[in-house]
């Protein structure tokens, strides 16, 4: 196995456990609402906590399928600008580029960023296996009723996501006043929008603070 692959595998490993715990939660909550098999298939083919929890919360609250679809897709709207950001770093046939783009998730996107807007496709691909196994395996355990891990909060596992992202963010911020400004603006936008917009919108709107880059650096 090449070094780049094993580095990506190892770098993605800390998120496997919290991802699995979140998968267990999804399986437990979703099975009574949509059925065990659909819950498991959903995790296998949608593979997105934000979209799945978003759609599930609509259904569990008595909302209809169309609203669940809209909520789920809105929660994933950030993948559109992320795909365009990734695109220049992808080469090869359209199918190959689409294949790599299809595998991107938040953590692998950030892990793969090499600076100056370039991304390493190998990292995008090889950050997948552990996280995918964690998500689908966790969902399987959840629909099977693995209540032991039912409340990831008790073990503090939910805090692993922000701290992991902080670990990726700090090196991005060093030595760049502009990135600090963008990060601060992004945080402010997200906090302001959370109470007043549907889930998913705050992250996309906050990501739009990157448009500050259109201005020439002074």
């Amino acid at each position: 196995m090449s070094t780049a692959r094993s580095i990506a595998l190892r770098a993605s490993a800390p998120l496997a456990l919290p991802t699995a715990a979140l998968g267990v939660t999804f399986g437990l909550l979703a099975a009574p609402v949509i059925g065990a098999v659909p819950a498991l298939v959903m995790s296998a083919v949608v593979w997105s906590g934000a979209a799945q929890f978003g759609a599930l919360s609509v259904l569990a609250g008595g909302g209809g399928i169309p609203l669940a679809m809209g909520t789920g897709l809105l929660a994933n709207a950030r993948f559109l600008p992320m795909g365009f950001a990734l695109a220049p770093s992808l080469s090869g046939s359209p199918l190959r580029r689409a294949g790599t783009g299809a595998l991107v998730v938040d953590a692998s996107f950030a892990l793969a960023h090499k600076g100056e807007g370039r991304f390493d496709p190998v990292t995008v691909v090889w950050a997948v296996p552990l996280q995918y196994a964690g998500w689908v395996g966790g969902t399987a355990a959840g629909v099977a009723g693995a209540t032991m891990l039912a409340d990831p909060g008790r073990l503090g596992l939910d805090v692993l996501f922000p701290v992991f992202y902080i670990g990726l963010l700090l090196p991005e911020l060093s030595g760049s006043a502009r990135r600090l400004v963008v990060a601060a603006l992004s945080a402010a936008v997200a906090l302001v929008l959370v109470p007043i917009t549907p889930e998913g919108i705050p992250v996309v709107a906050a990501a739009a603070t990157a448009l500050l880059g259109l201005k020439e650096p002074s």
Partner: protein
């Protein structure tokens, strides 16, 4: 109808992810766009951090996760390895919840 929902969510998420790579793959963008792309990672990470630390659904909350994340930030700033910072942050959150403080 559930299967329809699953199919649409899967296809929609896939479409959102692959549209960029399909239409803009391998093309070198102009410098202004490169700067935007470069800033997208810190902007996105910050938003994810804020949302996963200070929100519960659509509510803003200040709970044990904030304390855990603060511990994580401090440890990472003094160059503690990521895995150790993760364990410490989770430990802090678990302890606060065990004691029923937040």
């Amino acid at each position: 109808m559930t299967w329809m929902l699953i199919a649409i969510l899967a296809a929609g998420t896939l479409a959102l992810k692959v549209l960029g790579p399909l239409v803009a793959g391998g093309v070198q963008p102009p410098p202004a766009l490169v700067r935007v792309i470069d800033l997208l990672t810190p902007a996105l990470l910050t938003a994810l951090i804020v949302v996963s630390t200070f929100t519960d659904g659509r509510e803003l909350v200040l709970d044990s996760r904030a304390a855990g994340a603060a511990v994580g930030v401090v440890l990472l700033l003094v160059r503690v390895p990521l895995v150790a910072a993760l364990l410490a942050a989770a430990g802090v959150v678990a302890a606060i919840r065990l004691l029923g403080l937040a």
